[in-house]
Structure formats: structure tokens, C-alpha cells
Symmetry: D2
Subunit: 334 residues, 4 copies
């Protein structure tokens, strides 16, 4: 199937290109960014001798001529404009931005007014382990945020077993690629190297995304107390989930039962690390308890399972292909 990548300049756009180049079913027929008029090798010099294609100025009409599905690796607000146009032209959309992840009400509370109130209603949240049946029938996938992916996969199996009146705390740690490619004071090497700090504690926009999905899947209104940190590493994300158990249960058994058929979730008997998942679609999980105190540690590659490889898994399911065709499994270790 011919596919388009809109928003090829950023990190997730590059990761999409890298996955799709070798994908057995998808063929990249169109690449676009906001300027066009260059070769993809000018945009990403590491692709020299790997792929040789023009980068176009993004145009939905042109996409519809050459592709049946489009991946949108665009900033929020820009994504909804293209998604709306593409859907009207019968192009399926996997959107990596935040634009279709939330209910309209929650979106407008935390982001801005929404410009595509029609399609947001039908968008499917692309967390494959929990929404596979919906994804099969979808025309528009809202690819989850990186923090929600790592958090939900760790937390959802335990929702029925924890005291929901007690606060749930999430201490999340992200590599710098999560902050995007644009240079800023925050991403300056001298600011990041040998440093670590929290940012937006209890105020990050991924917090309502996590809360809303728990409500949809588990019927419970929980307050997620989410504190992200920026770490001196390029890619990878490690999330600590802390909660209070109601009873003295076997926490490993719960996790095993939840994910026994999930090839891309690996339960570990030692604390997980990001290097074992960097470069892959895996989510590695570790769980332990101390009396009623629960700790789940969740590791993903923020650009892959937290964005681009999960997007391709969603596209695989949506198109009726094997779920894990062409999905990266080989980590960047050492």
C-alpha cells in the first residue's frame, strides 16, 4: 500500500521514514514538509545512499493522488487541518500529534479550540494492546503520546487492585529527543549534560490524556499526579508508577496475565532500562511492592513505541496486515 509521510523534518518523521523504508507492505510514495523543494537526503543526511526521494510542500490533494494512508508527524493544530482534508479525500490518517487523542471537551480545555469537531468524535486511540478491535475499523488513528503510552501500559493492569482515593504518582523521565528538534535554551547541550530536573510538575498536558483513557477503559475517575523530568540522554523514556494496593496480591501474576499474548511487551524480573528498548517498539515492564506500596517501572523508546513505530503498528492493524510486520525489535545496545 502506498503511504505518505507529512512532516518529514522532525525526529518522528525521520523515524517513520526509517521504519517504512524496509516495511514489507507499505511503500513510501510521498514525503512532505513545510518548505518542500529538496531531496530527503538534504533534510536527513544520514539517508544518503539509503533513499532518494523528493520532499514536497505538503498538499492534501497531491497526497490523495498517490497514497491511501498518510502519517501526520506535525505539530498539533497543524495536524487537524491536514487530517480533515485528507479524510474528506478518503485518505486514511494516522496522526502522531495530540489533535485527536482527547474528547473534544478535554482537548479544548487543555489545548485550544478544535478545528475538526466532526472527525475528533470518530478518532480511535491507537494503543494497540487495548484498542485493537476499534483500530481495525478506524479511518483516523490518534497515536498516543509517549508519556501516556509508557504510563498506561504500566498502570492499566493494576487499576482494579489499587486504592483509587489515594493519589497515584507518576515520576517520568524522558530523553531530550522528546522535546523536538528545534533548538532552545532547554535543549542546549550545556544545559542538559550532567543535569536533570523536573518540568511542568502536575501540569503536563499528557496528564488529562492518561486520566481520560483510564476512565474510558476502566470506568474510574482517577487523579494522576504526573511529574516529568528531562534527562541527559537522546532517546528513551522511563516511567515510575507509584500507587497503593488494596490487598496483598501477586503483582507479577497480574502483569503476566494482562500481557501474556503481547509480543511487544516484555515483563522483566530485574528493573528495566531504556537502553534495552531504544531502537525498538518494545515496552519493558518491571513490578514490585512493599506492603501496600506498588512500584511499576516502564521503559520505552519515546520516538518509536512513544510515536513512530506504534504508528506503524496501528497502520498495520488498520490495513489488515500482521500486527508486527516491519516493526523494529533490535535494540541500539551497546
Amino acid at each position: 500500500m502506498n503511504v505518505a509521510i507529512i512532516g518529514a523534518s522532525g525526529y518522528t518523521g525521520l523515524e517513520l521514514i526509517k521504519i517504512l523504508i524496509n516495511h514489507p507492505k507499505f511503500n513510501i510514495s510521498y514525503i512532505a514538509n513545510s518548505s518542500g523543494e529538496m531531496n530527503v537526503q538534504d533534510l536527513h543526511p544520514s539517508l544518503k545512499n539509503v533513499i532518494n526521494m523528493d520532499v514536497n510542500l505538503a498538499n492534501a490533494q497531491e497526497v490523495a493522488k498517490v497514497a491511501d494512508l498518510a502519517f501526520l508527524a506535525l505539530p498539533h493544530k497543524t495536524a487537524m487541518v491536514f487530517a480533515k482534508e485528507l479524510l474528506a479525500l478518503n485518505v486514511k490518517v494516522v496522526d502522531l500529534s495530540a489533535d485527536y487523542r482527547l474528547s473534544l471537551e478535554t482537548y479544548e480545555k487543555h489545548y485550544c479550540e478544535h478545528g475538526d469537531k466532526e472527525n475528533i468524535k470518530d478518532a480511535v486511540y491507537g494503543l494497540p494492546e487495548y484498542f485493537k478491535e476499534d483500530i481495525k475499523k478506524a479511518k483516523l488513528i490518534a497515536n498516543p503520546g509517549c508519556y501516556p503510552t509508557a504510563t498506561l501500559l504500566a498502570l492499566l493492569p493494576f487499576i482494579d487492585y489499587i486504592e483509587t482515593e489515594n493519589p497515584i504518582f507518576i515520576d517520568a523521565k524522558s530523553g531530550v529527543s522528546g522535546a523536538g528538534k528545534n533548538p532552545s535554551d532547554t535543549t542546549h547541550y550545556c544545559q542538559i549534560n550532567d543535569n536533570v530536573h523536573a518540568y511542568n510538575p502536575f501540569k503536563h498536558r499528557h496528564m488529562p490524556e492518561i486520566e481520560e483513557k483510564i476512565k474510558i477503559l476502566k470506568g474510574k475517575e482517577l487523579a494522576i499526579n504526573f511529574v516529568p523530568h528531562l534527562l541527559p540522554l537522546t532517546r528513551g523514556m522511563l516511567v515510575s508508577v507509584f500507587a497503593t494496593l488494596k490487598d496483598d496480591i501477586d503483582v507479577n501474576e497480574i502483569l503476566n496475565n494482562a500481557y501474556k499474548d503481547c509480543e511487544f511487551i516484555r515483563l522483566r524480573d530485574k528493573p528495566v532500562d531504556v537502553k534495552s528498548v531504544a531502537g525498538t517498539n518494545f515496552c519493558d515492564l518491571f513490578v514490585t511492592k512493599n506492603g501496600k506500596a506498588l512500584f511499576v517501572s516502564s521503559a520505552i523508546d519515546n520516538l518509536l513505541r512513544g510515536a513512530s513505530s506504534q504508528a506503524v503498528v496501528n497502520a498495520n492493524i488498520l490495513c489488515g496486515y500482521e500486527e508486527y510486520e516491519g516493526i523494529p525489535k533490535i535494540a541500539y545496545v551497546p
Copy 2:
């Protein structure tokens, strides 16, 4: 006053040398490690043209001849042997190991049998903001662990305001120097670079140290659920404290009141980072809340406030000098 440094080979030994070289009151009269027969410049080549002294094979009798106070930067179990001998010779001791930090009972439960049951009873826990009066009269200071220092300074002001039946969670993040100078799989560059992982979750030996000091100071038996992580940075430590508030209180006011006279504790209105404290004795604190959920973030230099500079503060107080004479304040930024 003449002072000795026993255990000069490791990172905390080096930091002691670096602080004491320029100290207006202390004079290094003796340096020892476990081999001797070298110059301190052979041990630490960065000290060439800075200090020129012999390193001796550690010997308590020799120490007593030339020094009134000794800093012990030794592994636990070794430290207690020297401390016992030195105290018998009327040399005051600031011990950076774990050997005198706990009650005898707690020590023997979490470490091993104690070889100096006499002195452990009289040892004073050297957290200056909380034990200054005891430190003034002490002969033996147990210098706190790095994790307990960062955690207690963040948590203690809030003990009276939190639900103590609910779990308190500590998500701690340490630079690699905290693991010591000996090479191991854990500290190999390729294992640490671009990586992050928890270790000993809910099982670290700094957990009972934190619990015991809270009980002594606040009379409450709390379960501290402590999860340390190893981060790709050389020095620095960031600790997240998560707890449940009982009431809708002004969390900044509480922190301000607790530390308004403490020159080396800085309250910040933005999340703290380790780079602003690396190279100094400062503990930087940030606090916020989300309903009843409390988050305190605490940053220290693990080798200084978490070890060597705090040891010198303790020695200053014990010797009746100005508390902060010769204590490093200038951070390693950028």
C-alpha cells in the same frame, strides 16, 4: 586545627582534600589510604602543583600524633575499626561511612554485626539543620548518606502535614559517582551512557536510615518507599518526594518557615536542577501540590552535601568554628 583524611583514594576522599586545602581553619596534616607509599599527586593527578604530601598506610597511632580530628572516607566495616581506635586516642572523628548512622539494632539488621557497640551509642547524626546542638558536643559524627540527606531535608518539614497511613514514595536519581570509583559492569560507560534504570527498588539500605531519623525527630513510624535510579551524569542527585497532604495548606510557606535561617538550603520557585548545586554544599528545594498530592524535589551534589562538604560543616560546628567556613558555594555551571 590539624586534621587527618583516612581513605584518600576514593571520590569522597578527594573531595575532602579539595575542600580542606583552602579551609581557613583546618590544616591537612595526614593523608592515608590502604597502601601508602606514594604522593597524593600519584593518587589524584589533578592535584599536581596544588598539594604535595605523602600518602601513608593508615595507622591510628600515627594519626593521633599529628591530628586532633580525623575524617574517615572508608568503606563501612573498615570505618568502625579506625573510629574505635581513634576515639580511644582522643582523636575526634567525622565518619562518612554508614557505620554509625543507625541504632545498633537497625544497623545489625541491615548491614552486619557491629564491632564498636560502645561508640555507636554516642554517635551524632550529622545533618546540621536538625542536629546542630548535638553536633557541637559530639566526639563522633556519623555523616549522613547522600540519599537520606536529600530526602530528609525535603520531607521533614512536611511530616506533620501528611497522611502517614498513606505510602510515602521517594523516586531518587543519582549520578554515577555515588557508586564509587571501583570499576564494575554497572559503572561501565557503555552501560550508563544513554541509559537509566532503577536499582534495589524498596530494598536500598538508605531506606531504614531515613525511617529511623524521622522517628527520632518527629516521633512517627513511617514506611518510606524508596526507589533509587542510576543516571548518566557524574555527580548530582535529584530526589522526588511524593506524599498525601491532610489539609489544603500553603506548602511553600511551610518550607520557607522551616529553612528561613539556613544559608545552604535554597527554596526555588522553579523545579530544581542538579547542575545549580554540583560543586557546592547547597540543597535546592522546590515544592508544589495537586489537590492533596504533594511533590517536593530536592537537589544536592551527592559527593559534597551528600558526603564531603557536609562532613566539613559538621567538623566546623564540632570545633566551634563558623558553620560555613570554607564550604563550597560556587557551582560547576555551565
Copy 3:
């Protein structure tokens, strides 16, 4: 074709596994290290859900039963023992150690007495761009060292154009994975992070390897003045070649002519960086001059083009497959 990997514990062993898992022609039928009795997932936890095979105690007889070709990722001296046995059993060998890279005389001068004087004579040096015809007919490939690979590919095209009486200087910069997986003072994170230094200046054993190959290919006895440096990065190698040009020539044209048909050598019009080649078999080259002064900059992934992927290219050629079947091209950027 069934292949064996002997020496699966180290970094190059792991890279061989990672390449061969997805190779369209080679099938891994045997994996061994020096202890055996484990699963490859115990050795390399990142391979969980990727490959499930026993790791054997290395045994040449067993290899010969199940494989037609063996990759040896062993220390020098150990490699020659296995190579000798395997060749006697008609198993072809690609040896990643130094044991067969040099003439017997040069080897014994710089390393130690050689235990396989028979086979060293027939070993083919596996630098594909220069020895392809010999590789096709070989039974034993000596896979080049990482420094010689990056240096020779940069220097060889210019040998005819430089003053050979003037010193040639090589300033090489390697990531830490080149020092291997065993922990040491040298590879401790705190020693490497924020640091850089030369080691073995003018004394590294890759120096005679470079000199000997130039003599074989170009008939000239040159003194290569080689200074390697250790850098704070995990993988990647950047080599500066400095020499004196005889005439005012077009240095880019020379490089273009030398490698115009070489898919895995990329000539760049901006200075090359290691990130664009990390994860791939590419060698990126940049050249410029200042009067008679020549500068060539060469970037490779030390574990791939400098070891494991070049080994698989050699195996491809030796077995009559397409030279670049299954060879990694997608870099680890960002």
C-alpha cells in the same frame, strides 16, 4: 547457509547476532561463548522476544556438525586456536581478532608467537573495497581492525599524491565500546564522561597493520604516526588523516574516482560526523586542503564497519552472495 558465532558475549558478538537474525541468506545455527549453559537472552537481555537459542561452550567439533562458516569474535590468541581447528574441519572462518591480519613476522613482533603459522599465510585481509577478488576465494578472512578500516579507506586513494618522506599523522577518536565490555578504570563512566585524552600515542598495534597494508597495496614503506583518543561516546570513530600533497590536485576528484562504485562509502561535502554512520556499515569521507596540507576525515561505526558488519560483508562475498545483503544502512540518528 548455517553459520556459527563463537564469542557471543562481547559487543562485536552481539552485533553479529543482531545483523544475522535478519539476514536473508545466513541462518545462525550455533552460538558459543567461554561458559555456555545459558540462553542467548541471559547473555543479552535486549534479545528477549527476538531470538531464543542456547549458548554453548565453544567446541569446534560441534561447530563443524552444524555450520559451514564461523564468525570468531574472540580475543587474539584465543581466536587462532579455534580458527586452526575449524579450518581443519572444513569450516570457513571470518576472524574478527588481530590474529591473521598481519604477516607472521609483523604479528610476532607486535603481538606474540603465533600458534597457526600454516593458515596465517593464506588469510585474506577483509577490506572489501580493496581485496574483493581475494575474499571470493578465501577460506579464512582476517577482518580488519576498526582504526585501520577508517584510516585506510581515507588514506589509500591519496598515497600516490603525497610526499612520503614527510610524516603522515593520524589523529583518531574512538567511542568507548572500542575498549570492550570488561570494566576497568579506563572505561568507568566518571573517567570518560566530560573527558577526552590520547592513549598509546605512536605505539598502538593498529599502526603496523596500517603500514603493512599500504605496502602490499601501494608498494610504499611509509611511517604512519598514529595517535588514538578515547571520547565520551558509546560507538563511532572519527579519524583525521594529515599529509603533505606533492602537487596542486583536485582532492575531491581523487576520492570520487576511488569510490564511485562503492555503495557503502559516502563522500560528503561537509565534515563528516559519527552519528550519521552509527548503526550502519557506511564509511563517510570528507576531504579538503590548505596549500599542500591535506586533511581527510573518516567516520565509521567502530563495532559495525570496524568489526561485525564488515565481517558479514566479507562472508557475503566469500559465499558468493550479493555483497550487501542484510547489511545495516539505517543510522541511529537522532
Copy 4:
């Protein structure tokens, strides 16, 4: 003596503040940047509880009222405007920019038209080991560039012993702080981490600075072939000097003789590293040879010996104080 720091926002401005806070003779009486109206703690949060001063909008008239000497940590072109005004007001100037480092002719060839043709003639190049007598009498010091400092200290002692018709090659490696505080694609963490590359090979503006100073001091017109690299570390600079010796000389003896009375130059018998000098004014040197091939390795802290601490040494000499009063000697190891 009261001193002013003009240009307090950048890295070298911060380092000046950090040195001068504890200087026994200099007193910071004025701090300025291009916006003013803030406290120095707002500009550099790490200075909280360390120094409490207003930052002013830079104004030469105000400086002249409160200070006898000014350090200019400004971009080139801006620096000359202030220097001219301050000198007219009888304020002595130590300028850290490039504006007064070169002869007028060389400056205008490599930078731009010069706006202070009067004072550039009398500026003294502040490399203390070579220009001490001139510095004593100067009113305007041109503080050397970081690359020229590390290169000249390594190369000057050998000028009389090398073949000057053969190219001299400099392979320099700098930490990212050398690129300044402003965020850019070049200094983005994801671009620097795990990466290394050359930039401006044979074209850097520090090349003519090195050449001109050799001509002044040694009377020889040499072509310096200079290739800088950007490394994944915050501070520190390592420079390789490669040249051809005329005779079989004792290279260590030459270096020893050149610097036997220089407290801040340390000759090493092992290759130097940047970590041993980071945080200090030291220049560490190592030399070896291979036949006629010479290799000198030179390590400095680019922000201190390459900028701010050398500026304070110059100020000490100029003011008749002890050369090394208040100059940092304690390295940031580990």
C-alpha cells in the same frame, strides 16, 4: 581594586563572576549586560545565596565612576565600542573578545573593519607566559582565544626545532561551551550527544591569530593547518600539535626548560586529559616523538585558561598583584 564585568550573561561572564567573588584583591563593583534591570541571581540562578547585585544596562560613563578596570565579555564588534569609551575615561580594559588580538591588517582581513584603530596598536596580547613584561605596562589587554592559548603553549617551545617548510597540523577538540550559550542546531543536545565532527577545517579565525603570534615571538612565517572538532562534553579543550622535528632532540627537556618556572603549566608523563584541568587555569602538556614526527597534546579549560581565569591573571599582572592570586587550581574531578 574595584572592577566591572561587562557582558555578564554568557558563560565567560559567569566564570568571571565566579572567580572574582573570592578574589582577595578585586572587588566586583559593577555588573552589566545588554538588558539590565535584573539581579545577577535572575541571570544565573546558581548564584543565589552567593552574590546579590544588580545587573545594569552597560554604560561606560557609569563604569568609570565605580571601577578602575573592566573585563569585557562581549561579542567582537561590540567589545571595541566599549573598550574605546572606557579607555578614554581612564578605565583599564581586559577584553575577552577577538577585537584587539590581531594586528589591524590581519583583523580587517579575517573579521571586519575595525572601529578603534587607535587603541588596537597598543593592545597587549595577554598570554602571560610570553608577554608578562608588556602586560605589566598595558592599559588594554587582548585576552587570547581558547584555541590559540592551548596551541601556542604547546607549539612555541618547539618552533626552533621543527621543519618549518613541512606543514604543521593542529587537530583541536573543544567542549560545547566554546560555542556559547545561544541555542542553535549545532548545540542541540541530540546533535552533540554521541557525536563528534570537525568544523571549519583550515578556515577557523583562530588560525591567523596563532600564525601572527608565532611571527611576533619567533620571527617565522608558518602555515598553521588548523582543524577544530566539537565534542560531547561541556567544558574542556584538547589540542594535538603535529610537526616534523629537524633533529633527534630530547622533546621533554625542551618543554621542561620552557616552562620550569610556570606554576600553571604542568608537564605530564602520560597523555593529558581535560578533566584534570576543567575548573582550573592549568594548561597540561604531554609530548612524545616517533622518529622525526612530533606530537604535543595540550589540555585546558576553554572557559578558564581559554578565557576568564587567564583574563584575571592578566589583570593581576597589570595591577601589580601576585600573578596567581585568586586563580582557580582545583579541578572538577570526578
